[in-house]
């Protein structure tokens, strides 16, 4: 600790002290970053500690299965993988329809560890991929914010991002989904863009394209990048901020990035053919025109330039009109205007509910409610406006990008609750800036007030060196030994700083601008309030991570007076299917459970969460909403042996198939018009009690869910719907119960073989079914029953 002592005592050592100060600052921020990374990782481990190291939810199971395949068969087999276990009988080309970033990342980690003779299972690697990448994401946030507003803001933003609930919800250990790595890729791409913009280095521009490539590999959300960056470029051009740095930041990204994106099989020619990418090309043309204009301006005299402008503008307008006309014609010729359904529902929030029920049926595609904002970004919602203001003081290229980012992501998060995830980093960055600036102002004014007061009142020999010492110590973030004499006032301020500056980013700069100085009391109180706000945020985040977002959703627990109950019914059912059915049996269920069935039970499914074929899903939906016999025929035509339904009525598990049933009706009815939604509703109300419509009470879903349910309590009281069921005693004629889990949450039925049917009955119902199922039969021989 010799160095700090000399710093106050001897003037000649100032130079070394300054470098030392920087070094200490660097080391300190390095360790703070390290701790932020550790925190980001460990806050996501609640799910492993409270439950177990297991893959969560639905989509992660598919990713896990793909990773297993990759680890077992290698990369070339992976690209050519045709999966015949799903979408029976169509199958799915996995290699060409999946975003491979996540799988390749986890596969690479697994391969690396195994080649170092650390034999971790693929599952372990998959479970911990998301927490590792959230640590990376918080570091990327630090880099990005540092480029925008300096180290202090960077550290604050990184700390905020490390524990923002919205991001935690998608990246707890076991949540092995694309978003886990994509958010890191998103932030890192933005960082490299800003870095290129600030430095004008082609090196960073190339890195930026590669990072963009990784993002394209990882998530469909890459279209956000390729639209946001052009928007920013356009903004810069319009506000007269065009520079060669901007050109270098943008042009290589479009050229290299598009080329690289087209390499990803799932994107392919979409990278140049869909409307999502048009904005980037348009801006690409504009930036060239602008660059050309600037060039011409440089070599021509002002008078000549004016002439040239009129010439170019007239010609250019004509060309532009022609190009735009061609583009519009091209776009208009395609029915969806060249936009994918999900993107369209972003632009027009009502689009999905009007035309594509399958997108609307997913709960994460719904618009969020106000409480979900508070739940997911908490106090950041209040800090964001302050951060936006801070970005305008002064407005640089980088800070204008942040403003644009937050503005667009707020809009998108308002359309789809899932895109809250894109909002989270933006909110963290702006709040980080806001907090850091606020701390700067408050600590600065406290220091100013203290030093000002002391110089007025205290007349002290020690005072002489105080201001010098202060100017040094102010920025020093290290633990300076306080024994060093003669700098009492600065010590005081430092103490304050440490007391309130729990956020590691309160790099206090000696901002002694008179105008900005606030009264001492108010700044102390404001600091306290800010710290309180931060503490509230931390408490909320830890609660969210521990309680709200750590449940794996395949294992449910409930707490009652006699301890913890575990509902492990899903895995019970999948394990039963895996071990006690034939390896080639087909299992039909609503698409939600497709991924889990293929991954956990290793059985062929008809539809799964990929939802690429609406007709196929509608077929299953139709079967579920049809009476038993018609359903049997549909299933039999699909070679289905088992039907799986999820039923929560016994234990009160709300997201079961009866509650999802209306979507099955809607999606089925969208393709097969003989299924009509009003048939299932009584006076516009969806009910399953004695008031329910006969269509409802006779449909397959109702029967499979409530088969022999009444015998459990004698009344048939459904705990989810809080009502007694309408039709209590019935027998199944075409299905038989094969397995029901312990809490009845999953019920598996087996299709009875066709020969069991009674001849006479067939004749009678044939005429009925043929009239009702006439429209689906148009599709082909699919629903033809060979036994008729």
């Amino acid at each position: 600790m010799a160095a700090p002592e000399t710093s106050t005592a001897a003037v000649p050592t100032l130079y070394t002290n300054n470098t030392l100060r920087n070094a200490f600052g660097g080391v300190l921020s390095f360790f703070i970053l390290l701790l932020i990374g550790v925190m980001a990782f460990s806050i996501r481990l609640f799910s492993v500690i409270k439950y177990e190291s297991v893959i969560h939810e639905f989509d992660p199971y598919f990713n896990y299965r793909v990773t297993q395949f990759l680890a077992k068969n290698g990369i070339y087999e992976f690209w050519n993988w045709f999966d015949d276990r799903t979408w029976y009988p169509l199958g799915r080309v996995i290699g060409g329809t999946v975003y491979p970033g996540l799988t390749l990342t986890a596969g690479t980690i697994w391969w690396l560890l195994n080649s170092l003779n650390i034999p971790l299972s693929v599952e372990t690697v998959c479970v911990f991929t998301a927490p590792i990448f959230s640590a990376f994401a918080s570091w990327a946030t630090y880099l990005l914010t540092k480029e925008v507003k300096g180290t202090g803001a960077g550290l604050t933003a990184a700390a905020l991002l490390a524990m923002v609930p919205s991001y935690i919800s998608r990246s707890v250990a076991g949540s092995y989904d694309n978003e886990a790595v994509a958010i890191f890729a998103l932030i890192f791409t933005f960082y490299l863009y800003i870095k290129t913009l600030n430095t004008g280095s082609l090196f960073y521009a190339t890195l930026n394209s590669i990072s963009y490539f990784y993002m394209v590999c990882s998530w469909g959300g890459y279209t956000f990048i390729i639209n946001l960056i052009p928007m920013h470029v356009l903004l810069c051009i319009v506000t007269g901020r065009f520079s060669s740095r901007l050109y270098i930041a943008y042009a290589p990204l479009v050229v290299l990035g598009t080329l690289l994106a087209a390499l990803v099989p799932v994107v392919g020619f979409n990278a140049v053919m869909t409307s999502e990418h048009f904005a980037s090309f348009l801006v690409f043309i504009i930036i060239h025109v602008v660059a050309f204009v600037y060039y011409i301006k440089g070599i021509l005299s002002p008078k000549m330039f004016k002439v040239a402008v009129t010439l170019v503008v007239s010609v250019g307008l004509a060309v532009c009109c022609a190009v735009i006309a061609v583009l519009i014609a091209l776009v208009a010729s395609s029915p969806t205007k060249g936009w994918s359904g999900r993107s369209l529902s972003l632009l027009d929030p009502t689009y999905a509910s009007k035309y594509i029920p399958i997108i609307a049926s997913v709960s994460e595609h719904q618009p969020p409610t106000w409480p979900s904002y508070f739940m997911d970004i908490n106090v950041l919602a209040f800090l964001v406006p302050a951060g936006i203001i801070a970005c305008f003081l002064p407005l640089s290229d980088a800070s204008s990008f942040v403003v644009l980012y937050i503005a667009t992501s707020v809009y998108f998060s308002g359309v789809m609750v899932r895109l809250m995830l894109v909002l989270a980093p933006a909110a963290c960055i702006t709040s980080g800036i806001a907090l850091s600036q606020a701390f700067d102002v408050f600590t600065g004014s406290i220091k100013f007030q203290l030093s000002g007061a002391s110089s007025n009142t205290e007349v002290d020999a020690a005072e002489t060196s105080s201001s010098t010492a202060e100017s040094q110590t102010d920025a020093v973030k290290t633990e300076k030994p306080e024994e060093t004499a003669k700098n009492r006032p600065s010590r005081k301020s430092k103490k304050k700083e440490r007391e309130h500056g729990e956020k590691p980013s309160t790099k206090a700069k000696a901002e002694k601008k008179r105008l900005l100085a606030l009264p001492l009391e108010s700044s102390v109180i404001s600091l306290l309030l800010l710290v309180l706000l931060g503490a509230f945020y931390v408490v909320h985040c830890v609660w969210a991570a521990a309680e709200a977002y750590s449940a794996p959703s395949i294992v449910l627990t409930s707490r009652s007076h006699d301890g913890l109950h575990v509902f492990d019914d899903f895995r019970e059912a999948y394990a039963w299917l895996r071990h006690n059915t034939d390896v080639d049996d087909k299992v039909a269920s609503w698409w939600d459970y497709g991924y889990q069935t293929t991954a956990m039970a290793n059985r062929t499914v008809i539809v799964d969460n990929n939802t690429w074929n609406n007709t196929h899903i509608a077929t299953v939906g139709t079967a579920m909403s049809s009476p038993e016999r018609a359903a049997w025929e549909i299933f039999h035509s699909l070679d289905v042996k088992y039907v799986l339904v999820v039923f929560g009525g016994l234990v009160g598990y709300p997201s079961d198939d009866i509650n999802k049933f209306l979507w099955m009706v809607r999606i089925g009815g969208g393709v097969f018009p003989h299924i009509k939604e009003p048939d299932y509703l009584r006076d516009g109300q969806y009910r399953i009690d004695s008031q329910a419509t006969p269509t409802m009470l006779n449909c397959l879903m109702y029967k499979l869910s409530y088969y022999r349910f009444v015998e459990t309590d004698g009344k048939g009281f459904d705990r989810v719907r809080q009502t007694e069921i309408g039709k209590k005693y019935f027998k199944l004629t075409h299905f038989e119960e094969a397995f029901t889990t312990h809490h009845w949450m999953v019920r598996i039925y087996k299709l009875k073989p066709p020969k069991n049917r009674i001849r006479g009955k067939t004749k009678k119902s044939k005429s009925k079914t043929s009239s009702t199922t006439s429209s689906p039969k148009r599709g082909g021989t699919k629903k033809k029953n060979p036994w008729q």
């Binding site: 100017s471 601008k513 394990a575």
Partner: protein, 596 residues
């Protein structure tokens, strides 16, 4: 054939010991051998029909101990498969060597224990959930033997008193759950009288079709046992619906043939027990432990009905000192061979003993024949892998759960291999980092960007120096101010003047020092960006310096002229304002340059 001259006095008790064992038939035979021939005989042949021989898992002969005696550790008589001539081909023979040859008229009594698996056949083969499970047992009421039998009886013990049917012969009695045939006297050799017993058995028919046990020794103090089970209910196949409702409501009626749980008796002090399958942890298990044993009760994910399968893994750690011993410079592992599960029949058992890396001289001692070979397994941070001894045995029953030994050589030093590897790995990593930080690895030393970077670094150093000088100037100003305050307090004009003189000298020196730095900055092209700011800074500082001097002189003058303090203050007030403003500007500039 001389053997035929033997005459036997035998008491045969065949026990269907289903109470203890599911798919097992335990046959215990008590026999007294009497040599009726003239020659000395030391081998006794045991005959089994083909069907039984195929299912026989275990055969042991022990000399008979009288009743009431304390059971000494009985020495088993050696039993070998025999292939005597002139015997019917449909029979399989085993020969028991007697401890000493039997002379004519001598007799010897010994017990034979044979265990058969899969000898009970479910009839009907398919049952519904509500049905009870009936099984059929077939045997011979007469003891099948190449020798003549003097006296013999057979009793069949059943698990339950409910008997569907049984073959009625002469002398058949039934007591509760026990059926007794005989005694029969003076039977000729190879006499055979088939019987069949059809009875209810709802005992768990748990069969492990394959069990892989992996025993991994770590000399850091742990023996890790991992057991992978593939289990099937070997009884009557279930057919028709499975109704959870019925099963939950009346588990003993609607689901009598199913088994819900298994019990494993783990060694004492077993720790870190887990129970899972390929899709995750199975939460239905209970662990009870005391100093004698650790009892693990596991429930499969679903109740096991006839023909249903499941697969799971259990694992546990054991303290090393309980199982690893040393003798003659060799270490040996002494651990049980088979599964800790009670009532489990294993079709194929593979035991893998993973020894630490660097073990040599490996040998195995087991009390029954096993197939064995060696493999290597590469685990955490291994270089050439750990030697693995693989033992394989089919048809394993609980009687096989005996201790076996694996002997090997292992040097204590090999334990340090992996920690040392890690340490050196990190060491070299840090060294590489240090080298990277200190080495200049630019490819082209003459490239423009490299030169620019170097120049920029120089410029930064110079600016740093300039800043230092400026801040020293500011310190000097502060000193002057302080001297003024001193003056107002003490009125010591001389001291104040002295301070002024010292400050003047210092400032002059500093401005001298500043000159070459500024000229360097002006000449350097990469400093063009910062230069105006630096120059502004210097100019402002100079202005500030002048103002301070003027103020100082004014104040000192005032004191010399003995003006009132208020008067002086009025004079200086304007200057003071300017000073503060200037000072602020200089500070701002300093900070701005600092950020560059």
């Amino acid at each position: 054939m001389k053997s035929f001259r033997f005459c036997f006095l035998m008491l045969t008790i065949a026990i269907l010991a289903s109470p203890a064992l599911s798919d097992l038939v335990l046959s215990k035979v008590d026999r007294r051998v009497e040599n009726a021939g003239p020659e000395k005989e030391s081998l006794v042949l045991l005959a089994f029909p083909e069907q039984q021989a195929k299912n026989m898992a275990y055969l042991m002969a022990t000399p008979h101990e009288g009743k009431g005696k304390v059971k000494n550790p009985v020495v088993a008589l050696p039993v070998e498969a025999a292939n005597p001539k002139d015997m019917p081909a449909a029979l399989t023979f085993y020969s028991v060597s007697l401890p000493k040859g039997l002379a004519e008229g001598d007799s010897f009594t010994f017990d034979v224990l044979a265990v058969f698996t899969h000898a009970l056949r479910p009839i009907p083969e398919q049952i519904t959930q509500a049905d009870i499970q009936l099984v059929l047992y077939q045997d011979s009421a007469h003891y099948l033997s190449p020798y003549a039998v003097k006296v013999q009886s057979l009793s069949v013990k059943l698990p339950d008193s409910r008997i569907e049917s049984y073959t009625k012969l002469e002398n058949t009695k039934i007591h509760g759950s026990e059926i007794k045939y005989g005694p029969y006297e003076n039977l000729p050799s190879f006499s055979y009288s088939p019987i069949a017993v059809h009875f209810e058995s709802n005992l768990p028919f748990a069969v492990a079709q394959e069990l892989v046990r992996e025993i991994e020794i770590s000399h850091w103090g742990n023996v890790q046992v991992t057991e992978h089970y593939k289990l099937i209910h070997g009884g009557a196949q279930s057919k028709g619906e499975f109704s959870r409702l019925d099963f939950l409501a009346r588990p003993n009626v609607r689901g009598a043939s199913a088994f819900r749980y298994l019990v494993a008796n783990l060694p004492p002090r077993a720790h870190s027990v887990y129970y899972r399958d390929e899709i995750g942890n199975i939460s239905t298990s209970h662990l009870r432990g005391d100093s004698k044993k650790t009892e693990l009760l596991i429930e499969p994910r679903y109740p096991m009905f006839g023909g249903w399968r499941t697969a799971f893994t259990i694992g546990y750690g054991l303290p090393l000192q309980d199982f690893l011993y040393e003798s003659d410079g060799k270490r040996f592992l002494n651990i049980t061979f088979s599964s800790p599960m009670v009532e489990l029949v294993i079709d194929a058992l593979i035991v893998k003993v993973v020894l630490p890396e660097g073990s040599s001289d490996i040998s195995v001692a087991a009390s029954f024949p096993v197939e064995q070979w060696q493999e290597t397994k590469i685990s955490h941070l291994d270089i050439d892998g750990r030697p693995v001894v693989v033992l394989k045995k089919t048809n394993v029953v609980p009687q096989h759960n005996q201790f076996f030994q694996v002997y090997y050589h292992f040097s204590q030093l090999s334990m340090l291999r992996e920690p040392l590897m890690l340490i050196s790995g990190f060491f070299f990593f840090f060294v590489a980092c240090i080298v990277y930080m200190h080495a200049d690895i630019s490819i082209s030393k003459s490239s423009a960007s490299y030169l620019a970077k170097q120049q920029w670094e120089e410029v930064q150093a110079v600016i740093q120096q300039v800043q230092n000088i400026i801040s020293r100037c500011l310190t000097t100003h502060d000193n002057l101010e302080a001297s003024l305050r001193d003056l107002s307090r003490t009125g010591n004009i001389q001291a104040c003047k002295a301070a002024r003189k010292a400050a003047d000298g210092l400032l002059k020196e500093l401005s001298k020092e500043l000159k070459p730095l500024l000229t360097f900055l002006q000449s350097s092209p990469s400093a063009a960006q910062v230069l105006p700011k630096v120059e502004e800074l210097v100019a402002k500082e100079r202005e500030l310096q002048e103002k301070v001097m003027v103020k100082h002189s004014t104040v000192v003058d005032g004191y010399e002229k003995k003006l009132g303090a208020r008067d002086i203050e009025n004079r200086v007030a304007l200057q003071q304002q300017k000073l503060t403003a200037l000072r602020q500007e200089v500070d701002d500039l300093l900070e701005f340059i600092d950020e560059i």
